[in-house]
Subunit: 411 residues, 2 copies
């Protein structure tokens, strides 16, 4: 039993946000049916890939879902998808998508088959154009704020907006379903990746800042913006980040590095008060110059010992490979992770939901289905077709299922 | 009327994630009460700040909330907070927090006053230590994947995990409230910023990749990982990003830049198939060398014209200030934004929720309260105190309210 047990969500998607939303709902206990075109959607082979070419991206973002492969260009395929999306059930009639919704698959058309349908649609931008983090960020000025002071604009490695938007799809769906539980009314819920990004940087005060000051936040290397926080290279070449965001953290750094006297001199020479976070930001280069020698003559292990004893907020820089070797939080020591064997690929730690609910035990994370792994089951249980009809659909190539005897080649 | 109208959520928070969660719930129509210690919480002055020093961060992340300022160290203050969190109401008894919950403010203690209380607690890591994006990212290897190939690790400018975690607080709360509607049961919901990050990079396939290959994704400048996507400098010095993630996008780039012949030669010389996304990734430097001269002899305007006519997915790089001047999506042309005057600060575009619900009209974004602006109202309406009791609390300095006659100095 998990928190959304009994809910059924249908997903028509590709890439990050909506697949992440469906996977999140699946890890919360919902039955999530992802449909794809024959041969797989746009993300069927998305990197990262395993040495044998299997998509680790697909494997990660589709855990715990059911998969059906349907010829989405045929009228019969479209009718089947409509039937699956609008199938009866109190906790069904929930559709999430980032595919281009036109005609047969838009909310207006689908809701003729089920009046209380809830559709959550994520688009690229409000004009309906495709967008990805790699385009949203440059157009909103984020790379201009990222990277070394003197360098070129730097793109983020993480699809931060896709990640945020995927979680927003989940909350929008739950809010709309809450409303439906009370009123019986379905609805069409929409937003765009770019609007999610633009709203969020507004919420963070960045639009206000750029408007009121007439300039944008500058690139500041790895410095924490607006207070003190900086990376340092230790004597053994290892890099660490240390945070002086709150006054308590700042005092902790000064004490741990025995630099109170130098900081007092700096404050005095600049007639400033380092307990003010903005002052620490403005004087960050001078502060860093005072602190750097302390790190330069210590190993990471020595720094770690002092900082941990002092209760500082800090972290080592390391590669993900190093983190996987060193950090118990990325191993089965963390109950969120389960080491799972993926046939033909290998064994690696797989995360379940990071969220724990006291009324439910943690569930295993589940694995991603092969494309079309549940085609027959879904046609029978959800679309309510009989065996003869199902056999005909396989025979005519409207649907496929890997490993099914009479399945045709998906190509 | 908005989608969560009637719901009441109490927030005890600081910084990004939980304030963002509360603000999001407020923009969905919930009544959100944020309580802070006298004088304000740790983020009361968080940057960015307006020229007069007012926190634009506070203004952005607390829009539409009610604020009460209470002496959280006094037994009476703690009793008041308990009373507000556990106040009666079918759609109340919902508490979100990232404060260190010990004793009087933990779920176990609070739920003695209201058995069906739902608490969502966000911690730094699963051990309860403070963490911020600036520490989570280095410890998980993200800066090692970010920035120029030959440079040092680069931190992200956005608090991506805080943003994701804030949205996860919303969905966790809604899921728990859904469960309570059906069963009457409250519960304690918890997760950590670091676990949210670690789970998400697992979902994206990055942990699998690092485990199976034994190495981590390398820094690759502004290249799109695993397919083709690259930034180019135009003849006028402007920078653009162009995306060749899908085969259709890739073919569009080749056609728009008239480089089919050169790409065929490259494919032939390397005995490779550029319609394969992994091949495009491996040959990205050669591809970029072919394309770069096309950009070098064109202005951004010329590139834009060709790319828009070709329906390519692309974006200009620009600062946020430039974006605010040039991009209608960041202006009132976008119904998500409302230009609002903030007393003593100035006028700037303020975002409402990016999500539109067809059953509800879009609401104005609302403004953030001054610290303690609703102290008296909350003591009366939620804590159900009479005027005499309220006056005594102000007199004894247990609570404050800016501008109230008998308010004491919060310092």
């Amino acid at each position: 039993m998990t928190i959304l047990k009994g809910m059924r969500v249908v997903e028509g998607s590709a890439f990050v946000a909506v697949p992440l939303a469906g996977m999140t709902l699946a890890q919360m206990g919902a039955e999530v049916i992802r449909f794809d075109r024959l041969g797989g959607g746009l993300d069927a082979k998305r990197w990262p890939v395993a040495p044998d070419g299997q998509s680790l991206f697909w494997a990660g973002l589709n855990k715990g879902k059911k998969s059906i492969a349907i010829d989405m260009k045929s009228p019969e395929g479209r009718e089947l998808i409509t039937r699956i999306i609008t199938a009866p059930g109190d906790d069904a009639g929930l559709f999430i998508t980032n595919l281009r919704v036109r005609g047969w698959m838009d909310h207006e058309t689908l809701s003729k088959e089920r009046e209380d349908l809830i559709t959550v649609t994520l688009t690229g931008d409000r004009h309906g154009r495709p967008q990805v983090d790699y385009t949203v960020n440059p157009s909103l000025g984020i790379p201009h704020m990222t990277g070394p002071e003197s360098g070129d604009p730097v793109a983020h490695a993480l699809p931060a907006w896709d990640i945020a938007a995927g979680n927003m799809v989940v909350s929008a769906l739950l809010a709309a379903e809450r409303h439906r539980l009370r009123t019986g009314r379905g609805q069409d819920v929409e937003f765009s990746l770019k609007d999610a990004a633009a709203a969020t940087i507004g919420h963070l005060g960045m639009i206000a800042e750029a408007t009121l000051t007439g300039t944008s936040r500058p690139r500041a290397g790895n410095a924490l913006y607006g207070a003190y926080g900086q990376d340092f290279v230790c004597g053994d070449g290892q890099r660490v980040m240390v945070i002086g965001l709150t006054e308590r953290q700042w005092r902790g750094i000064v004490k741990a590095t025995d630099s109170a006297e130098a900081m007092d001199l700096l404050a005095s020479a600049t007639a400033s008060d380092l307990s003010d976070e903005g002052t620490r930001w403005r004087l960050r280069h001078q502060i860093t110059a005072i602190l750097a020698p302390w790190f330069a003559v210590r190993t990471l292990a020595q720094v770690a010992q002092v900082f941990d004893e002092s209760g500082l907020t800090w972290a080592p820089f390391r590669s993900l490979s190093e983190a996987l070797r060193e950090d118990p939080d990325l191993s089965e020591d963390n109950p969120m992770f389960t080491s799972m064997l993926h046939p033909g690929v290998g064994r690696y730690p797989v995360p379940s939901s990071p969220v724990t609910y006291s009324d439910f035990a943690r569930e295993l994370p589940g694995q991603a289905p092969a494309l079309g792994a549940h085609t027959e089951e879904i046609l029978s249980d959800v679309a309510r077709l009989d065996d003869t009809e199902i056999a005909r659909l396989f025979d005519t190539g409207v649907v496929t299922q890997a490993g099914r005897e009479d399945a045709r080649d998906a190509a």
